[in-house]
Amino acid sequence: MSEERAWHPRRAGPFVANRVLLVLLAAALMGVVLLPFAAMAPNRLMSGQGVNVAVALLPWQWLSLAGLAMVLALCTLARPFPSRLARWLTLIIAPLWLLLALYGLGDYAFRTLQDASPAARVSQGAAFWILVFCPVLMIIDAFQRLGSGLAVRGFYTAALVAMVGALFASGIFDGLSIMQEYANNRDTFAAEFLTHLRLVGLALGPALLVGLPLGLLARRSPSARGPLFGVLNFFQTIPSIALFALLVAPLSALGEALPWLKALGVGGIGAAPAIIALIMYSLLPIVRNTYAGFAGVPATTIEAARGMGMTARQILWRVEVPLALPVILSGLRIVTVQAIGLTVVAALIGAGGLGSFIFQGLGQYAIDLVMLGAVPTIALAVVADFLLQILVSLSKPAGTR
């Protein structure tokens, strides 16, 4: 396929057609052979005994995994499949692999716990994570090689998420330790999850409100640019825990001095310092990308707009903003993912959020409770990243897409 050759100038040799897929497959197989797929522990605080994939899974399950792996292996080669077919096959087999790994783990937990003590726990092992992440990377790689449009990727991802969601809904994972932790914390989980989202939202809103005009200011006024980026860069260099801690004293003093502020919830600990710190961290990427977005609008385009008789406001809204928007939104994408992660640390100063499970779990040495905080945080970041990526693509002007 000559057009694809043009897309991928560094094509692999005639025998191996897709080195990325080969590496991922090899990594997955090595991980599965060498690392435990699940861990079985007598109770939630003891560390578990690793269980190999061949032991944990029923024969039909690991034989299916092996069979799918063989087809994937053929997909890495130049023959027998044409490259396009190989990519589509990867897009069918990789999710099957993923779903089978998920189902297998849940099924193993279910079977094992039937005749074990009530305190016994089954949790996921390293090989399980490898079996989850490798297919995801294979899917991303296949889409990149196919050059598929946004609609196809979006639909595919939605379908995959729906299938994983259906697995969860079926209750197949209820035996797993992390799900037991979830069951124990069912009430607080929803609340902390919402708190996490609220903290991110309350930080991003003001950060955008302040950051976008500052970015434009940096573009318009070269003399303001230096000091502005200096200050924002300085914020960025303060470690997050230190920044949270630094804010405690002044905010509690402020809360004491102004009772109405205290009534609003402003104090040394809690949401207020967390939100302020998150805003400070979010400003630099927003301002920098807004500046870069506006700076990237060709000077000749703006001169033409002036020469045509557009007013300054018309130039801003009709020419500069549409052309700068993709870059500005990529800044938003960066800070959203960053804020979702940083909000975890905010739990340390009593702001709540998913981080509270992580720190509770660390305190109790209950790894599955840590997982209950960590896995949803990661999922949230991945989903936000994906959605904003779609938004960035959509914001690209039709002429430049």
């Binding site: 060709p298 020469g307 045509m308 557009m310 020419v319 052309l323 002007p397 002429g399």
Partner: protein, 353 residues
């Protein structure tokens, strides 16, 4: 009509444009030319006030441009620039429609105007209307840029090296098109370039600038034959002065009577005769080569080996040299023989006349 009166631009202590006064009458094609940094672009940009003038006045018709609200002024003046400056996020039609849109024309009138202008510039409406700038060739993008500048039927068109970024072949075609459009619309044009050949081809008047001063403002032929000083002479370039002059002369000025084969004068004249068919189209020439022993003593008339009355003598001469024939048939729109131009004719007439 555009008139500059004592126009001056000073940046700090540097005088970029120094007391320039000139006038481009309605329907004229004025070209500002000079070496880099001579202030030609600055002068142009002061006309639509992209750069404010330090001193002096600019009249657009009867209006002093500084008295008009700046956006309104710019909507009355078409503006085309070198890098085209098309809006990358808008289609061809949307780009052309910018100024009519700003002037709040009704949509139907804008659509009509876009189609009309695309037709004028030989841009295929069906194919290109909804294309985006990055999908266009350099020549197409440049045509869209000029069409956009003309969209709201401005009184004046300002062009800042509009063909600077295209290849020489496309450039030639665009120049011909601009001349055609100029003849068709009779717009007043002020055109900036640093290319003397381009200026000679397009201008009805050339303003030569150096270090911010106007050195000479004249018709092209006067610039060539009566240069004001040594700078003008050196800027024009002496090497191909003869050819440059011929680029401002036209075939109809040198056209002579052609002798047909079989006519009574045939035997007594210069020793070559034209053969024409029943409709008066020339088919071939007998004789006319420099050396009688040249084997091919009759030359087939073709599109390449013929001239039209509005062709420049430079091109006619070039065709004679290429085909090694001392004479070239002049044909009219229907292809009929209406005369001839000869090497003797070129050499025998004062080019300055």
């Amino acid at each position: 009509m555009i008139e500059l009166q004592g126009l001056t631009k000073i940046y700090g202590d540097k005088t970029v444009v120094d007391d320039i006064s000139l006038r481009v009458d309605s329907g004229e094609f004025g070209v500002l030319i000079g070496p880099s940094g001579c202030g030609k672009s600055t002068t142009l940009r002061m006309i639509n006030r992209l750069i404010p003038a330090t001193h002096g006045r600019i009249l657009l018709g009867d209006d002093d441009v500084t008295q008009l609200p700046v956006e309104q002024l710019r909507r009355r003046i078409g503006y085309a620039i070198q890098s085209i400056g098309l809006f990358p996020h808008w289609s061809v039609a949307e780009n052309i429609a910018v100024v009519p849109g700003l002037l709040k024309w009704p949509k139907s009138r804008i659509d009509e105007r876009v189609d009309e202008l695309m037709g004028l510039f030989h841009l295929d409406v069906g194919e290109l209307r909804d294309k985006y700038p990055h999908q266009l060739s350099g020549g197409q993008a440049q045509r869209v840029g000029v069409a956009r500048a003309l969209a709201a039927d401005p009184e004046v068109l300002l062009m800042d090296e509009p063909f600077g970024a295209v290849d020489p072949l496309t450039r030639e075609v665009l120049q011909d098109e601009l001349l055609r459009v100029h003849q068709h619309t009779r717009k007043t044009i002020v055109f900036v370039t640093h290319d003397m050949d381009e200026a000679l081809k397009l201008a009805s008047r050339i303003a030569l600038l150096n270090t911010g001063r106007l050195v000479q403002y004249d018709r092209p032929i006067e610039l060539l034959t009566r240069p004001a000083d040594d700078f003008v002479r050196s800027f024009i370039g002496k090497a191909d002065l003869g050819l440059k002059l011929l680029s401002r002369r036209w075939v109809h000025q040198y056209q002579q009577h052609a002798t047909l084969q079989g006519s009574p004068a045939a035997s007594t004249q210069a020793g070559y005769t034209w053969e024409v068919d029943a409709t008066g189209r020339p088919t071939c020439l007998h004789g006319g080569r420099l050396h009688a022993e040249d084997r091919q003593q009759h030359t087939e008339v073709t599109q390449e080996w013929s001239a039209t009355p509005d062709m420049t003598m430079k091109e006619a001469l070039s065709r004679m040299v290429w085909f090694r024939v001392m004479v070239l048939p002049v044909i009219d729109g229907e292809g009929r023989l209406i005369g001839e131009v000869t090497m003797h004719g070129v050499m025998g007439q004062q080019p300055c006349a």
